[in-house]
């Protein structure tokens, strides 16, 4: 049995060694807001935070998480960034969007008013095939509006 701290709660789960954090969240805890688009660390769709730091959950082993607090999109559902993304139309198909918001939430936590270059640097690991990037930039620039 493994104990995992997720979004302020503690969960016990049984997962074979080698299970990724993304699979554990999605398949064991039913937290399917975290998306898997490449499953090998190349796209950012599976981004969650560990103690506030964005990481790729598809290439993180669930057994390596330890005591750290996992924050998923479900834990950020009332974050003002969610509204900001909708307001700025920073989502089309929406498959990359939870990952974008989790990354952006970590960014504004450390830098509440990031400038364009900072946003582009921090968000470059979150791919969006629909091309919402200009809107993502706007959402992060105006998230407190």
């Amino acid at each position: 049995m493994l104990e995992l701290r997720v979004n302020g709660g503690a969960f016990e789960l049984d997962a074979p060694v080698g299970t990724s954090l993304a699979d554990a969240l999605r398949d064991r805890l039913g937290l399917t807001g975290t998306k898997i688009a490449c499953n090998e660390g190349h796209c950012g769709a599976c981004t969650v935070q560990l103690d506030g730091v964005p990481i790729l959950s598809c290439i993180t082993l669930v057994h390596s998480v330890g005591e750290r607090e996992v924050t998923t999109i479900e834990g950020l559902r009332d974050h003002p960034l969610v509204e900001a993304f909708v307001r700025a139309d920073a989502l089309q198909c929406g498959f990359c969007t939870p990952g974008q918001i989790v990354s952006a939430a970590a960014l504004v936590e450390t830098d509440p008013e990031p400038d364009r270059d900072v946003i582009r640097h921090a968000m470059a690991g979150n791919l969006c095939r629909c091309g919402t990037y200009p809107r993502v930039e706007e959402a992060i620039t105006t998230w407190r509006a």
Binding site: K35, H42, I73, F95
Partner: protein
């Protein structure tokens, strides 16, 4: 009384005749301009669900007892399976079903000990003679995906490896073609060339690019009694329904297809796909729900692509820039299967040139089949044509914008039809502001960076067509629901449908729900491809809403003793010209649990007319002439797509199209292993999609005038137009900046440096050699 008429329907440039029943009175279009809801920016009605991760995509469907599938794919472009040994795989832990090609299943079933329910079972979509690397050969269904993969690694295949055909030109020479070459001529090309003061010729190449929607192709199939439920990531619920029913030999109503949220398609998800048939077959054999989801790597091997092209083009013009001749030979390197796109389309449609001759070849190769990819053919054909036109303009010393105006097509010269509407001249007029930045942009060049501005025009389809249906239900709470089994693939069509219904019913947007994405829960809806969702579905939704509105007015007239003609719907009320006003819920509430039900259908397309979309884009680039690095710094896009329903979503569509085009122009390229034909760029690391850091300033404008001949809305589609002209606009900006003619996509540093070297070589040659 219903009238039966014949109309023309087009999807991505392919026309078919279609009988259509026209029932209701034709609604007049709304006047041009923003209405209360339509034409005003609306945030997505499903935005919160998507942003919060609550939207359930096919990837999130988890059914009790669900099995997972791993698929063995050919590593060879052309090969034969001599022997397939699935014995150990069938006995591996967790394995519940094994599929092999029919020939082998029949032969080998007797060979394997163990549980016959496990297999091997025959599947029609598996092959023992793969014609491309990535073709599915065997499939294993197991309790977990890990177990399925482990079992797959136990499958032994003896291959007879054959030499693959990988080059398009070579395929044409050898006669390896899919279908007959498509030939077209108007006027007389040779005469047109003879009349020209200047003739330019050039050869252009475009590469293979991969769709890479972030949700990979996937389906979950489950039998519920005698009905097969198919949860699938699709652009066409009804197409999957028909394909699956036909494959299984069951009535279409025994197949229920569900796709409420969908993680992108871009043309690659128009068909059911092998994965759906594999999941359906395993579900049938095992009695369990089965997921078949492609990995990212398989996604990039086996789910389609934009095919490469080779274009040999010629243009002749008088010294004032009037085109006298356009000719093109277009080789579409289609792949093992697929379709030969209309790459010559822009050459036939964009300009009023009297003498045009084209031929399209569809080369059959041992490479993965192509699939429609956002304006297939036109993206590639526009790159060649619009670059050639700028080469011509440069040599004639005519302003490129002026050259395009001079050759404006006033009607469709390919078959002498009028356009239902065309405001390309207005797009050109609005482009002037961006075009006027040329001198200032060029002046900002600073070694080693050279700057320049280029433009290109856009033509594409986007008229949609019948049949398409919608229902509208108004309940006693005064809320309305639009019900239709269409899909929203991420383009915002759910929101647009809500806006159209809200407008017609005089309701605020937040009192309209849209129920879509389930073939068991609404009427037939058309494909979301070919920029057709809004022009096909929008008019059906409006007519359903109008039907409901008419009934509401009739009820109110009787209840409040007014004439119908003095009543209308506004702000959630029925209002009378004499000042009377009654909340909708009061009128609908009269019926208790009763509901007001409206139905609507898409009417015919305008007879004898050509419905097209138009636009122009202006690109600003900086080129490092030492390293060949190209940076796009600004893109302005002006498009004419008739009425714009949602300016907010429309801007996003244009930005998204342009960003995909940026990848196509500068960074994306599928690479193949030249020995096996297998895809080398299978991961999102190897295959270079644009990131947020690559995005330039993008300016978006719409002409936003209804097409008065097209449906009760006057709205055309917008999904594809924005991706069409970008590559050519960028290439033309590169020419303006450096004088170099890039002729091959992507414009890698290698290609950029080659073009720069060629220009330097030309500067040293005697001039005038190529003037006709």
């Amino acid at each position: 009384m219903a009238r039966l008429i014949k109309t023309e329907k087009e999807v991505e440039g392919r026309y078919t005749e279609q009988w259509v029943v026209v029932e209701e009175d034709v609604l007049d279009q709304w006047p041009a301009g923003a209405r209360r809801v339509v034409g005003r920016p609306a945030t997505r009605v499903d935005g919160l669900q998507r942003a919060r991760g609550e939207a359930r995509y096919t990837a999130d469907v988890q059914l009790p007892g669900m099995l997972h599938t791993a698929v063995l794919r050919s590593p060879h472009g052309r090969a034969r399976v001599k022997r397939l040994d699935v014995g150990r795989a069938m006995q591996a832990p967790g394995v519940r079903g094994v599929l092999t090609p029919r020939e082998l299943a029949a032969r080998d079933a007797a060979d394997w000990p163990g549980e016959p329910s496990v297999g091997p079972h025959a599947s029609e979509v598996l092959t023992c003679e793969p014609g491309y690397a990535g073709a599915p050969v065997a499939a294993v269904g197991a309790e977990t995906f890990g177990q399925a993969l482990a079992a797959l690694s136990l499958v032994r295949v003896d291959w007879e490896i054959l030499e693959p055909l990988l080059d398009g030109d070579q395929a044409v020479r050898r006669g390896s073609l899919l279908g007959e070459p498509r030939r077209y001529e108007r006027g007389d090309l040779d005469r047109g060339l003879a009349e020209a003061d200047l003739v330019v010729e050039a050869k252009y190449r475009t590469q293979v690019v991969l769709h890479n929607a972030l949700e990979t192709h996937q389906s979950v199939c489950r039998w519920e009694g005698d009905t097969l439920e198919v949860y699938t990531s699709t652009q066409w619920i009804w197409g999957v329904r028909r394909e699956v029913a036909e494959a299984l030999g069951i009535p279409a109503d025994r197949v229920r297809v569900v796709c409420e949220y969908m993680g992108g398609g871009f043309g690659a998800k128009n068909d059911a796909g092998d994965h759906t048939f594999i999941a359906a077959e395993l579900a049938r054999r095992t009695g369990r729900p089965v997921r078949c989801a492609l990995t990212r790597r398989d996604e990039n091997r086996a789910t389609g692509n934009r095919n490469a092209t080779i274009q040999r083009l010629v243009a002749g013009a008088r010294s004032d820039g009037t085109l006298t001749a356009l000719g093109g030979e277009f080789v579409n390197a289609v792949g093992y299967d697929g379709f030969s796109p209309f790459t010559s389309g822009p050459m036939q449609l964009l300009y009023g040139c009297p003498n045009v001759r084209t031929v399209d070849y569809g080369a059959q190769l041992n490479t993965p089949p192509n699939a429609a990819f956002r304006a297939p053919g036109f993206v590639e054909g526009t790159f060649g044509l619009e670059c050639l036109l700028d080469e011509l303009a440069a040599r004639l010393d005519v302003d490129p914008l002026e050259l395009r105006r001079r050759n404006h097509a006033d009607h469709d010269a390919s078959d002498e039809r009028p356009f239902s509407s065309k405001r390309l001249m207005e797009c050109y007029r609005r482009a002037e502001t961006h075009w006027a930045r040329r001198a200032e942009v060029r002046a900002r060049s600073e070694a080693p960076w050279r700057r320049g501005v280029g433009l290109a025009s856009q033509v594409w389809y986007g008229g949609g067509g019948p049949p398409s249906y919608a229902w509208v239900r108004v309940g006693p709470d005064g809320r309305a629901a639009v019900i239709t089994a269409m899909q929203d693939i991420g383009t915002g069509s759910r929101t647009a449908m809500a806006q159209i219904a809200a407008e017609e019913l005089g309701l605020p947007l937040d009192r309209v729900d849209v129920a879509l994405g389930d073939s068991a829960r609404g009427p037939y809806a058309s494909i979301s491809a070919g920029s057709s969702t809004i022009p096909s579905m929008g008019p059906a939704v409006r007519s359903a809403a109008a039907d409901a509105a008419r009934q509401i007015v009739e009820i109110a007239a009787q209840r409040y003793d007014r004439e119908e003609r003095v009543l209308s719907l506004r702000d959630g009320h029925v209002v009378s010209t004499d000042g009377g006003s009654w909340p909708l819920e009061e009128i609908a509430g009269l019926l208790g649990d009763g509901q007001i039900l409206g139905k609507g259908a898409r009417g015919p397309n305008p007879a004898g007319m050509r419905v097209l979309t138009f636009g122009v884009q202006v690109a600003e680039v900086a080129v490092d002439v030492e390293t060949g690095e190209v940076r796009v710094e600004r893109l302005a896009a002006i498009h004419d797509v008739g009425r714009v329903i949602n300016p907010l979503g429309a801007r996003s569509q244009v930005e998204g199209g342009i960003i995909q085009a940026l990848g196509h122009t500068l960074s994306e390229q599928r690479l193949l292993d030249p020995l096996t034909g297998d895809v080398l760029t299978q991961t999102l690391d190897a295959y270079k999609l644009p990131t947020i850091a690559d995005v330039p300033e993008i300016v978006v404008e719409f002409v936003d005038q209804p097409d008065t001949h097209l449906t009760n809305l006057g709205a055309k589609g917008l999904g594809e137009p924005p991706i069409v002209p970008t590559a050519a606009a960028i290439a033309n900006a590169i020419r303006n900046a450096t004088g170099a003619d890039v002729r091959s996509l992507p414009v890698s540093r290698e290609e950029m440096l080659r073009a720069l070297r060629e220009t330097r070589g030309r500067a040293e040659e005697p001039v005038g050699a190529s003037t006709a």
